[in-house]
């Protein structure tokens, strides 16, 4: 992010780590930074328009709120005090100390303060998440990697046995807006073939979920941000890593994913897969039938897609293979590391910058836009329909997910939500003609 960004799509690494920690029930985030860092966490996850002050939707956040004297003389003793105070008022669980730019720059010895608390029997870990390290997604990657590699030292209550447990990595709470809904549906699908998902975050996760990480038969990686955590866990506890092609949208993607998991774990019955797939296919066919009329009115579209790497590539694949649409541009707003999807080579841009994104949309010649609601004005200007898949506020996390046939159904509903009047006949045109 070493350049000015306009209309930024992501928070900073600290915000990602903060949202990630806050999404694990029983975890208290402690921000070791200047006051704005914790507060801006709310700002960057809801967008400036929706900012209403303190982040009421996040669990209690503790913060050292450093003043100038702490910058000059070091903030470590302030941190020691805040760890103690936090533990005295909040229920025991896990305290995650998240350091921001100022403390990383002056080199506060945070690990020493954390070690001190740990030797006193407290469950505390620290993660360096200075905003200059990258985006919110980077913050998720860093925090979850730390948790995965140090879970054994955290004094957590031992997890109960869960045969066929699969850790789900790569869905970033809040910054991937449909996170909770997607985790929920993946959990349902895995349960359908006798596996148990370990979602870590949201209502299905929590401290016991963290404790169970090393007991899993596999770690499922759904976006590039989940790879480092899965590898950390593999190194430490030998849990196999299964890298999927993004979020499984539609029945075909579900099939591919289940077969990958079956091969890696050897713990899935073929008959169970077949049973689940047939129900997925029926659901998807039903959804296609229901929207057929509206879809045929839309016709085959050249679509520009703007979203995080968890979602955007899979969406494009679904649209191309199931609807026969063409993907004319793919903008990955979380700026993932590593190679970009090859099946869309030449049409993929990784940028968190709103202006660059708008330019890519314009240049694509798309006649349909799938992007955050913030691109409504641009879509209106270009005179093309917009299916909003982000900037939807909290509701997307509850009911907006795109996993499986149900996710595909929601996508179809979103595609056809923008009414497209037949080009040949509109009442206005008819009136004007008269």
């Amino acid at each position: 992010m070493a350049r000015p960004l306009v209309g930024f799509h992501d928070g900073c690494a600290l915000h990602g780590a903060l949202a990630t920690a806050a999404a694990i029930e029983g975890v208290t985030p402690l921000v070791h930074s200047t006051p704005g860092c914790a507060l801006r966490g709310a700002f960057s996850s809801t967008g400036a328009q929706n900012f209403r002050g303190a982040p009421i939707h996040l669990s209690p956040i503790s913060s050292t709120n450093l003043a100038e004297k702490h910058i000059v003389f070091g903030g470590a003793s302030r941190l020691r005090e805040q760890i103690k105070n936090t533990l005295s008022v909040l229920p025991r669980g896990l305290l995650v100390v998240i350091t921001g730019c100022p403390t990383e720059m002056i080199g506060d010895d945070v690990p020493a303060m954390v070690r001190e608390a740990v030797t006193q029997g407290e469950a505390v870990v620290d993660v360096g998440a200075a905003g200059f390290l990258g985006s919110a997604h980077r913050g998720y990657e860093r925090l979850v990697s730390v948790l995965a590699s140090r879970v054994g030292e955290l004094n957590l209550a031992p997890a109960s046995e869960a045969p066929g447990l699969v850790n789900i990595f790569g869905i970033v709470p809040r910054y991937d807006e449909t996170w909770a809904s997607d985790l929920d549906e993946i959990s349902r699908l895995l349960a359908g073939v006798g596996l148990t998902a370990n979602p870590i975050f949201g209502p299905g996760g929590g401290l016991s979920s963290l404790a169970a990480l090393p007991k899993a038969v596999a770690s499922l990686v759904l976006s590039p941000w989940g790879l480092a955590p899965a590898q950390a866990l593999q190194e430490k506890s030998g849990v196999a890593t299964v890298v999927a092609d993004g979020l499984p949208i539609g029945a075909d993607a579900v099939e591919k994913l289940l077969r990958q998991l079956a091969a890696a774990t050897g713990a899935v019955e073929e008959t169970a897969i077949e049973r689940l797939l047939s129900s997925e296919r029926r659901y998807e066919d039903f959804a296609l039938d229901e929207t057929l009329d509206a879809l045929s009115r839309l016709g085959r579209r050249r679509v520009a897609l703007v979203g995080n790497s968890l979602l955007a590539g899979s969406l494009a694949r679904f649209l191309v293979s199931t609807l026969g649409w063409e993907a004319s541009a793919l903008v990955l707003t979380d700026e993932p590391d590593g190679p970009l999807p090859t099946d869309l080579a030449g049409r993929v841009v990784a940028t968190a910058d709103g202006v660059e994104t708008a330019a890519a949309i314009r240049a694509s010649g798309a006649d349909f836009l799938i992007a955050g609601a913030r691109y409504g004005a641009l879509a209106a200007e270009l005179g093309i329909p917009l299916a909003a898949i982000a900037d939807l506020g909290g509701r997307a996390s509850l009911s907006g997910g795109f996993v499986g046939a149900r996710g595909a159904a929601r996508l179809l509903a979103a595609l056809t939500a923008t009414p497209v009047a037949p080009k040949l006949f509109t009442p206005q045109a008819a009136l004007a003609a008269r």
Binding site: I71, V72, F73, G74
Partner: protein, 290 residues
């Protein structure tokens, strides 16, 4: 005396003699009747010890710790000849941000209207070692010191630090930062030291404004917590400091230095290394022949 005080910053690597030299300059100026403020911008907080006989002096940044708004009397004391001694203070080595400390201390002194209250003729800043980051460049940035001097010896690290200061000066000059007054050669002992420094000055388009020899007088005075000006006012060394003081505050061309870049500096050092080594080698050989 004058309406507008002249602010001068003195830099140089740690232990090179900044505080000793600055304090003697302050003492010499005070002796001639000028009102002088010396501000130590070094977390070591020992810039003004030999001006104030080692008396206890709370630092400016100490007041940050308890968030109190200090009064000028709390953070300053009058030393030899009425020099107002101030120590910016800072964190202990290895923690916190000394650079921000300097910036915060300078801000606080401004808020306290130190210069308006004391009405000095000269303000001398004695600034810590290498200019490692923006914080240490505060005194040479817009609106604070108008000229910067660097104390150096013939030691390569001292010259490296001087060269870094030149870079900082060039960087800030465009936005109203300090100009370079020149180089103060200190603790010269070896026969080649003077030539080496002269050559460095010539290469970088600067000037040596004074040669201060290594002297017993300095060490002796220091033991009494005094400057040479105070302890041995009639010594040769005291005269040298007086001349230096006149030169430092006097009107002279301030300039933009031409720092050497990394490879050039290395080549230059190597050349001198060959020369010096050659000299000593030669000396040894001739000694062996005897």
């Amino acid at each position: 005396m004058s309406a507008k005080p002249k602010h001068i910053a003195i830099y140089g690597k740690g232990g090179i003699g900044k505080s000793t030299t600055t304090s003697n300059i302050s003492a010499a100026l005070a002796e001639s009747g000028f009102r002088v403020i010396q501000i130590g911008c070094d977390p070591k907080s020992d810039s003004t010890v030999i001006l104030r006989g080692g008396a206890e002096l709370p630092t400016v940044l100490d007041s940050l710790r308890d968030r109190s708004r200090p009064k000028l009397e709390d953070i300053s004391t009058l030393g030899f000849g009425g020099v107002l001694c101030i120590e910016a203070g800072g964190p202990v080595p290895g923690v916190g941000c000394a650079g921000r400390g300097i910036a915060a201390a300078v801000d606080l002194l401004e808020e306290l209207d130190v210069f308006g209250t004391f009405k000095p003729d000269y303000v001398l800043y004695d600034v810590l070692g290498d200019v490692v980051c923006g914080g240490f460049a505060v005194p040479i940035r817009d609106g604070i010191a108008e000229a910067a001097f660097v104390v150096a010896s013939s030691d390569f690290m001292a010259i490296f630090a001087a060269n870094n200061l030149f870079k900082a000066i060039d960087k800030y000059a465009a936005t109203g930062g300090a100009r370079l007054g020149g180089v103060i050669a200190n603790s010269l002992q070896t026969p080649y030291a003077r030539d080496l420094l002269d050559d460095f000055a010539a290469r970088t388009g600067t000037e040596i404004v004074g040669y201060v020899p290594r002297s017993q007088a300095v060490a002796q005075s220091e033991l009494y917590g005094q400057t040479v000006i105070e302890a041995q006012p009639y010594s040769e060394q005291a005269e040298i400091y007086r001349a230096l003081a006149r030169r430092v505050v006097g009107d002279h061309p301030t300039r933009l230095p031409k720092p050497l870049d990394g490879p050039d500096l290395k080549d230059w050092a190597k050349q001198w290394g060959d020369r010096i080594f050659g000299v000593e080698h030669g000396a040894k050989n001739s000694a062996a022949r005897l």
